[in-house]
Symmetry: C2
Subunit: 328 residues, 2 copies
Amino acid sequence: MKIAILGFGSVGRGIAQIVAERDTGLVITAVADSKSGCIDNNGIDPLELINRKEETGLCGEKGITAEYIIENAEYDALVEVTPTNAETAEPSLGYIRLALSRGRNVVTSNKGPIAKNYAELKDLADKNGVRLKYEATVCGAIPIIHTLQYSLAGNKVKRLYGIFNGTCNYILTRMADEKLTYKEALLEARELGYAEADPTYDVEGIDAAIKLVILANAIFGMNKKIEDVEITGINSLTSQALELAEEDELTIRLIGEINNEKGILKVSPRVIPKNHTLVVRDTLNAVTIDTDLAGEITLIGKGAGSIETASAIISDLLFISNCHDGSP
Amino acid sequence: MKIAILGFGSVGRGIAQIVAERDTGLVITAVADSKSGCIDNNGIDPLELINRKEETGLCGEKGITAEYIIENAEYDALVEVTPTNAETAEPSLGYIRLALSRGRNVVTSNKGPIAKNYAELKDLADKNGVRLKYEATVCGAIPIIHTLQYSLAGNKVKRLYGIFNGTCNYILTRMADEKLTYKEALLEARELGYAEADPTYDVEGIDAAIKLVILANAIFGMNKKIEDVEITGINSLTSQALELAEEDELTIRLIGEINNEKGILKVSPRVIPKNHTLVVRDTLNAVTIDTDLAGEITLIGKGAGSIETASAIISDLLFISNCHDGSP
């Protein structure tokens, strides 16, 4: 299957590396970064691409843009991993619309377009007989979307709840283990690269809320906006609160929850037993799916990282490549 | 999609109940239990079937056998959930062979045929252009097989390890929590219906080993027999060993492991930290998949139960019904 990659940062290069190293049946025919692009409908050598990008900072010629590639390259699936503004969802949203309109499958790692425009994009995909896949948008390497769409098919999901943000989980783990204050733990997370210079998006629960909105709209057919999520972050949590919890063999985690029966989305710090399945450590994510037939199924794994994101993208591509007709 | 069900015990009836209650697109055209059977190529009312079985102990007429149904009914997929001897794999094995030879998809919950004859059966399925699915054979409701085949596609699995037997896990949980001896905990497990009158199959690690053989052969392309698994059960574990572990915040669990790089399969009680992800309680199962791209992904859930098994069967059926061409 021929793929065009938009965005050639660490995720894009990770995908190229995987295509180079293993027998996926995937062929890269076009790549664009923010400054350049290249097209070869017979297939581009992925390692040559990675080298060129490392040596020159460019992946191709300056005149070849993402839009040009979407409209002119030969590809079956667009891999859309551009750096995108989470608020406006651009430029990702425009690229996805254009590719779907041209009857091409799309795989994206960008949360913005899926959280904001899922219904419109899915409709566009259906009209054009192609697929829109977005496993990488929620919980990184954990195949939560695939599990909900396929592995637990036939089940009714009553509730889904868990840890959707690794930065917050790291801070809470360190506050509990080392009796750090919130500020000390945040500083440590920043030094280790787990938190951004401006950590608002993570610590105020917005990132977790966006992931809930994606699952609510894409999997449960709701029509939610970020404003519909009741959000409390961890930024005003005191070390005293954690110490009190610890005394009773409890701890605090930032839990995101979708109540599918009531249609309620919520992100908040919650006190839970230390031996609870969801009490994972450091930057891990963990999600429990509460179903009517299979009971509670919990998935735990790395919720972020370039290679983990590339892994989710590749599994989406292989699914498009191998499974046809009638499936979401 | 039309399905024929062989075996109308609690799993078979659970499947019929699900078909009756929700919009699966599945139509039951034939059913057989060990004494009777019925065929209606226009579709059988699932609730009427369940009532008939409850009232008369039969699901149809005495002359209609499983073999007759396989050869004469109209169906796209055979649901093979008969009570089957784990040693000989019969009658399941014969039914599966016959249905695949007739160009019908097969979904089974029986471990025997998949553990013993996977390569032969897969070959037969491929030759006839149909699918053989067996999600229910390993860890009940946990979609471990689907996760390995699809959700983590593109990943190389280095190691896979976890808790594959709920009976042993219950006994070990109770020994640790209540300081019971092995015999006391086993007695309790029996009273609660978690252990058979003859618990050998579970407590000696054979059940866990069979599940490893299934994964090794079906997912990792090995050619293993139960004799190839290094097995130590929990039946000679002392409460002293558990108490010693508990003193250091450790505990003991029966861990099954496939080392995919070395081709080694092993089941044994292991000492692990009490806060380890795999330390789940009571009859739960938990499996960690150690991959090169996605890192470690852990799945936790109910490893047994009629409705959980029915859930796995239904997801296999919906996958066959919705996804075509080229996928395993």
